[in-house]
């Protein structure tokens, strides 16, 4: 197990629900990596760690989806980003890390 895997990488506490952490979620689909910010409590989503632009949920009936491939954000192609992936996205300066 990679030591990075035992770390929570997050941007800030969720401004919507107050209890969740806004974390970097990765979706790998069709050889394309998509990163976005997801609250691990209320599932609010943002396009990037600047958290200016929300990703809306399509409808009340559907689960939040990856903005690129439109698969579930909890699907098998998704995971929490590790440090390397955060660096590749150019978001390292915007995140904090803590041991899980």
């Amino acid at each position: 197990m990679n030591s990075q895997d035992s770390k929570i990488i997050y941007v800030e506490s969720c401004p919507i629900c107050g209890d969740g952490l806004c974390r970097v979620r990765i979706c790998v689909s069709n050889q394309m990596v998509t990163g976005f910010i997801l609250c691990d409590e209320c599932e609010a989503m943002w396009t990037d760690p600047f958290m200016q632009e929300r990703i809306p949920t399509i409808s009340e009936e559907t689960e939040p989806q990856c903005p690129n491939c439109e698969q579930s954000i909890w699907g098998k192609n998704t995971h929490w980003a590790n440090i390397g992936e955060v660096c590749l996205l150019g978001w390292f300066d915007r995140v904090q890390m803590v041991d899980e």
Binding site: S13, D19, R54, P56, I58, S59, E63
Partner: protein, 251 residues
Amino acid sequence: MVQKQRQDAAINALRMIPTKWAVIIVVAIIGYVLLQPQVNKWFGWSLPSVASLVGDEKPTSKTKQEKPNSVEKTSTPKSDSKQSQAAVEKKSDQDDSRSKTPTAQPRVSDQQVGAEPPSEKFHGILVEIGRNRFESPAGLVYGPGSEEGHRLKHIERHLEDQPKRPGLHGVFDGDMHAFLVAIDDAYSRAKSGGKGTKKIPDQGSTIYEASFAKPIGFLGGQEGGRKRQPPLKKLRVVVRGNSVITAFPFQ
């Protein structure tokens, strides 16, 4: 078949010995039959019964069965009866083939007399409405989703503190059943615009908040630890449609 042969052999053996000795043996057998249970009781011995010697019954199973019966008679509280039932079931697992016979089953069900029938509802409140989907009395649906795979698993995280988790972590003070009841209560009151409640529409979801008269939990997480875990009296429920996303006590 084997038993019949044994009985025939015993009768033939009796025919071969003198009448006087036969009478003495028969009297001794009758005496043993009458005194064996009493001797076992007085001295704590486990002399086998005649039936078990003949092969009708195994001696050890009877002595094992006597213990649960004595617990059954003395246990009146519900928890005790459950324990005794568990003890009987454990015994049954350990016991030989006798315990697996249908005659052993009524003994187990005897233990349930006076106990409430097992609830068919999940966590005592939820009704299954589909595959892995459960509905509460207030109409909230708990289904698959979240990082944990199911919303119930997700909200279960709020039954315990996570001291290392950054920021706030609302912890409900109670079990899952009480938590689900509180969520239903908060949702119902907030949905109908009750006093001390809020309804906040968000993009695709709705956040309901409701106050309680007494503390329902405490503030956990790193921030809660810094603040010495103050008690919390409010509950926040995030839903999408009528599906629960999350719920937790908050300040």
